[in-house]
Symmetry: C2
Subunit: 279 residues, 2 copies
């Protein structure tokens, strides 16, 4: 019963959020809320908790098996809720099996290497769930919008990213990519809250306002990345993220489904309990 409900829901989610490989993402036409899928907030929050619990159990088997890894990439404009997603989906799992890597402005050392160097170093080892807060896509987003590299160099990166993700996929790492899609109005409210709410003041960064002025440029850059890097081996999902509880419900269900598809197995012992006597 539960299984059938889940299959139906994850299909409904994917029909709505998946960027079909080869097709246009049509980012500008995509909804920033998922009211068509979720109308009951309480039920959605309950489902997220249930899925977080299942993710924890599946991660335990993933670790015991130690043959595959999962990489969850979270991209989105400032205030889109990347940190909040980590808390809602992965706190149940805890820091033992989940490793979060935030990618900020690259260091001199990182810039002295190719753009995928720091990314590759942070990929999860077998048995682990890695979460990227921002990722290799910054190199075709902020870098493109702010002209931090020649256009011809950026242009090559889409295929380089696709090749890199294909390599990860071929060598045992499943890649899930989520773009947290909020509206311009929702971002205004969230930035305003950082100004008005003393407890959120520390999160406010005046530079975010500069990025906000480039909203349309960022949306265009996202659209190109979604169009060109939603592949069969690592498709993009555009997650309506104006309502946090919908965002969490979508991502938790998708991560759970991906782990269930991997179906990690506890290794079978090659011994019998009677083989050992503990002194």
């Amino acid at each position: 019963m539960y299984a059938r409900r889940m299959v139906k829901l994850t299909k409904q989610i994917d029909d709505s959020v998946l960027v079909t490989p080869g097709a246009k993402s049509n980012l500008r036409k995509r909804a920033t809320n998922a009211d068509d899928i979720f109308d009951d907030r309480e039920a959605a929050e309950e489902a997220t908790k249930e899925n977080a619990k299942a993710i924890d159990a599946l991660q335990d088997a993933l670790w015991a098996e130690r043959k595959r890894a999962l990489l969850v990439i979270l991209q989105g404009i400032d205030t889109s809720g990347k940190d909040g997603t980590v808390r809602a989906v992965f706190n149940r799992c805890g820091p033992l099996g989940v490793q979060v890597t935030p990618f900020g402005k690259p260091s001199d050392e990182e810039l002295a290497h190719d753009f995928l160097w720091r990314i590759h170093m942070a990929t999860p080892k077998k048995g682990v769930i890695g979460v990227f807060n921002r990722s290799q896509y910054e190199d075709v987003l902020v870098v493109k919008v702010r002209n931090l590299a020649p256009a011809a160099v950026v242009e090559q990166r889409y295929e380089q990213i696709n090749a890199f993700e294909a390599h990860l996929n071929d060598t045992g790492t499943t890649v899930l990519k989520f773009m947290l899609n909020i509206s311009r109005d929702e971002q205004r409210e969230r930035l305003q809250a950082r100004l008005d709410d003393a407890e959120k003041n520390w999160k406010f960064n005046a530079a975010d306002l500069e990025d906000r002025k480039l909203w349309d440029d960022y949306q265009k850059a996202y659209e190109v990345a979604l169009d060109r890097c939603s592949t069969a081996h690592a498709p993009w999902r555009v997650v309506p993220a104006d309502r946090k509880w919908q965002r969490n419900a979508i991502i938790a269900a998708t991560v759970r489904k991906a782990l269930e598809d991997l179906a990690p197995q506890y290794p079978k012992p090659d011994w019998k309990p009677g083989d050992f006597k503990i002194e």
Copy 2:
């Protein structure tokens, strides 16, 4: 009221578990349960949850402040409960602010460097809580017991570790060291459970039985490490760990107290909300 109760409890815990710098640890005489401190399991578990919640809030401030770090070192013989401690104390905090590093057998690359190289690389950056599952102490424990390095080299390491930890402390990282102390009988039961309980089979490692045969040698090696490396800047705590709920309660209370002593502060904004208008 709560504060007074906590102060009393953490003092009682420290009186019982702290290895006074300069004094003998008397490991063999230390209890492996804390029945003298905790008699009510339910209350202790409730306190652990409350402390885990407080640790989460304090970590948020630590991250916002981004000036100091906390390093929690968990040492203990096989089955002593290092992973379980991480779950009980740090899952509430989640993978966003806590970074767990397990130290196993060193790689060729790691062995090609001095023994503190891989340790230093894994220390938490400012704002983060780092948890070491095993640590630099393996180089004076397993290495000593199994003669993996000349005795004279091991002999130098105690002071090298003290100097390293003093450096961490001086440069903004508070170091908390916990030795999870279980009895030989309790280890037998936990190993046996890994043989008998199908869900725990994957955790069983025949090599652990070899280490168990060296129980006394390990206890002696631990005792020397505790005697020589419990310093004012990074004292050891020997945690009675036969009962998981007592172990968790002791460590959660101690970590919380350490963070409260750090008293991380949210940075004060150097602007007023009216300075900005969000378009």
